[in-house]
Subunit: 141 residues, 2 copies
Amino acid sequence: MANSSDRPVLEELDRAECMRLIAGGVVGRVAFDDGEGPTVIPVNYAVDGDSVIFRTSATGRMTRSLLTSVPGGEVRAAFQADRFDESARTGWSVLLRGGAHRLSAAERAAVPRVEPWPGDERGEWFRLSALEVSGRRLSRR
Amino acid sequence: MANSSDRPVLEELDRAECMRLIAGGVVGRVAFDDGEGPTVIPVNYAVDGDSVIFRTSATGRMTRSLLTSVPGGEVRAAFQADRFDESARTGWSVLLRGGAHRLSAAERAAVPRVEPWPGDERGEWFRLSALEVSGRRLSRR
């Protein structure tokens, strides 16, 4: 078991390991620019291949920001998830970067179901397709 | 105790409560634009008044991005921290938005000490001063 005084070892994770790690989670964070700089909002999510599906309010800031794209285009966004052990001072973090696009009703029917903890009124579904996947794990030896 | 099937209640947190919540933590996330869109990097941090102090590598992407400012200016960035209980499906999230600036040696001596879990080679210290503090708590009743 890791001891917080052991030597820290930081390793880069490959794409497969990153996707495996986030597949086991239910809460991540979406980062985007809302016109006044970067912002970060927690979301419930599901992994679908090389992308992440999440839901948000139709009238919220995230929907407004992710839809200010050129028609058919995608807005740059990031999805981040991590898990840390504060007593051992270890953990991992994964970042997906790419474009976000809103799912049509037909597309929604074909993706894994996402259940937002705050309730079902989060009527817009988005897919963040990962152009870039990176991750790191901090362990102690 | 919260039961995950209870009715979800989402409340906005005031600035004092947000700062109190993040004062108890040691891992948060900094979001910034590295020129290719938003990115998110976990950091160890300390709260100092209405700002957050964190450290990063002098040669890393975060330092490069946070220093591409006009002289004396600040780069737009965000700091996010949260804590969730996956079994109860509850938790809180806090977001600080504002400008990041690098601390001089003299400034470093006057701020709370930050100990990065991966080791001490994170030679640049930054302060993110919160222009805007927001937070939410999800509970169940």
